[in-house]
Symmetry: D2
Subunit: 184 residues, 4 copies
C-alpha cells in the first residue's frame, strides 16, 4: 500500500488568542475544516500545531473521513495537550517558540496556508527553504494574502501558489505533489 502524503495546514489559532478587533474571520476556520476534509479524502495525513483555531478545525474536518489520521505537534513536555481531533501527538519538548514549526514542516510533503501571523510566517519561510510546495488561500488575510503568488527571496526556490477556495488549494497541492520526482 502506498504511503500517504503528510500535509501541513497552517494559520491562525483560535479567536481567544487575539485582541477582539483583530480576530480572524469565522470563514477562515470554516475553510480550514473543509481543507482538512478534502485532504483526508485524498488519503492525506493532516499535520497541524495541535492547538485551537485552524489547527483544530482542519483536524476536525479530516476526522469526518473514516480511518483518517491526524497529527499535532505541540510545545512543552506534556502529553495530552493537543485538541480532541488529533490522533498522534508529537511532543516537541520545547518551551521556546519556534521549534514546533520546524518539526511540522520538516515532516510534511506540502503546506496549505490560511491567514496567519508570525508563527505561520516562520513555517512558510522554512517550507520555502526546504522547497516544499506551498499553497496560500487568498482572501484569508494575514501572511497568506501578503505572500500568495510570490517568492520569498531572489533565490526563487519555489513560488507560493495562490488558490481561491479550499477545493482549488487541495487540487493544486495534490497536482504539484503528483508531478514531483520521488513522490510516493
Amino acid at each position: 500500500m502506498p504511503k500517504k502524503y503528510q500535509i501541513a495546514v497552517i494559520g491562525p489559532a483560535g479567536p481567544e488568542e487575539y485582541p477582539k478587533e483583530q480576530r480572524p474571520d469565522n470563514s477562515v476556520y470554516e475553510q480550514a475544516f473543509r481543507i482538512g476534509e478534502l485532504l483526508a479524502k485524498e488519503n492525506c495525513i493532516v499535520v497541524t500545531g495541535g492547538k485551537s483555531g485552524i489547527m483544530s478545525t482542519a483536524a476536525e474536518g479530516a476526522k469526518t473521513v473514516p480511518h483518517s489520521v491526524t497529527v499535532g505537534v505541540v510545545k512543552g513536555d506534556k502529553r495530552f495537550t493537543a485538541n480532541e481531533f488529533i490522533d498522534v501527538e508529537i511532543v516537541s519538548g520545547a518551551i521556546a517558540d519556534g521549534l514546533d514549526e520546524y518539526q511540522i514542516i520538516t515532516m510534511c510533503d506540502g503546506v496549505i496556508l490560511l491567514g496567519g501571523g508570525a508563527g505561520t510566517l516562520e513555517e512558510v519561510a522554512i517550507a520555502y527553504r526546504q522547497e516544499k510546495p506551498i499553497v496560500a488561500l487568498a482572501g484569508t488575510g494575514g501572511w497568506a494574502d501578503k505572500i500568495a503568488g510570490t517568492c520569498l527571496d531572489e533565490r526563487q526556490r519555489i513560488r507560493i501558489e495562490s488558490a481561491g477556495s479550499p477545493e482549488e488549494a487541495v487540487t493544486k497541492l495534490m497536482s504539484t505533489l503528483h508531478h514531483r520526482p520521488n513522490s510516493s
Copy 2:
C-alpha cells in the same frame, strides 16, 4: 473518545547491521512483533525508529490489528524512508546520531525494551530522566538484560521493570500507565 497511549518499542536494528557473529537472535524480532500486536490490541500507538529489525517487526505486529496506527521517527531530511509498516513518518531533520531517540521518547508515555546497543541505551537514559515507565524484556540480551530490574542512578527516579514474555511486558506497562496520575 479517549486518546491512545503512545508506546515506544526499542531495540536492535536488523541483522544486516551487525557483524555476523553478533547478530541478535531471531526470537528478539519475533517477540517485538508480538509486542507490537499486543500494544495495538490495547489500543496503543506503536512508536519506533522506523528502520529495520525490531523497528520493523514491532510495527508489522501492530498493523495486524485493524485501524491501528504506527509511527516512525527517522533520521535525515528525506520522506518515505521508513519501513513499510509505518503510517506516520516523523522526519527528524538530523544527520547527527542522537536526536531521533530524544524525539521518540519525548512523545511517548512508556517504553518497552528488547536487547539493544548504544542507541537503545540512550533512549532508556532519556526515558529514565523523563520518568516514563520502562519495561525490559529479559533474556533478549544487550542492554535490556543488563539493566532490567535496576535504577540507572542513585536518584532512583524510576525502576526499570523486568518482564519474562511479550504478554507480561505489555501487561506490566499498561498496568503502570493506568495507575499513574494524569493518565488519559
Copy 3:
C-alpha cells in the same frame, strides 16, 4: 564580572550564493563588519550562522577587538566548517534547513538585521515570537527594508526598529537591552 550580551547579526550569505544580477551590494558586507566591531566594543558576543557573507564579515569585525568572542551555529554534523573568524562553533546536527536559525535566535538577547532572504525572514519571525529586540538596517534591501518599522502580525509583540547606520543600529539595540527588566 557581568555576563556579556549575545547578539545575532543576520543577513545574506556571500555573493557566491546568489545569481549574478541578484548579489547583495558590497556595502551590506562592509556594514556587517562595522556592526560586528561596534558590538564587540560594547562587550557583546557576536553570533552568526558561521558561513560566508555577513556571517563572516560581522565576525571578522568583532575579532578586531582584543579578547572578543564570536559564535557560529553551523548545519550538519561536521566540526571545523565555520569561517575563520568564529571562536565557538555550535554544530546543530541538522541537515534540514531551519533548525540552525532557531538555535541562533534562542541563545541571543537581540538581533541586528541587514538585507536578507528567507533564512533571515525565518530568524526574524522567531525573534519576534520570542519577543527579542530586533533592529533592521534600512537601505540594505531584502527583508530588512520590507519590515523595518513594522510589527510582524496583529499581536504586535514587538516593533522592528529601523536604523540608518551601523552606529545607530548598535546604539538602539544596546539602549533597548539596558532598559529591559532582567537584563544582566
Copy 4:
C-alpha cells in the same frame, strides 16, 4: 590561527541535587576543576551543562587560564541561568530532559567523564554513537567507573578509555585527537 578543540566535561551536578548519603565525593569536583584548567592550558574550549557541580568547577578551572573560553548548554528558554564561569551560554529552548546533552556532544571533539548518573550516561551513549573519543576518570564512581575500558555495544565503534588522574585523562584525550584524521 588554528581553531581550538571543544571538549565536553561531563559528570554529576552539585551535592545539593543528591540525597545526603548519595552525594558525590568532593574529590570529583576538585578533579573536574583540574581537568578544566589543563584543557584550557591545552588551548581547548571547555563545554559543560552550565549548571552546578562539575559543570561549574570544570569551567572555573578553565577560567584560571587567561583568555580561555567556556561554554554552557542550559535547559529552558531563559538567558543568564548558567554558572558564573560560563562565557558563552547556549540556551537549548528545551523543557524536556535530554536535548541539552545531545547539543553538548554534537558540538564537541571529545569527552572527559567523571562519575555521573543517567544524564551522563545519555551523553556517553551519544558520544559513542557519534564516534567521539571518550575518556573516563577511574575511581570517580557512577557510570565512569562502570564503563571505563569498555565498548557500549557489540558494534565496538570506539573504546571508552580509562585514566587514573586528570593529567592522564587530558593527555590521553589530546593524544587521540592529534592522531585523528581531519583534526584541525
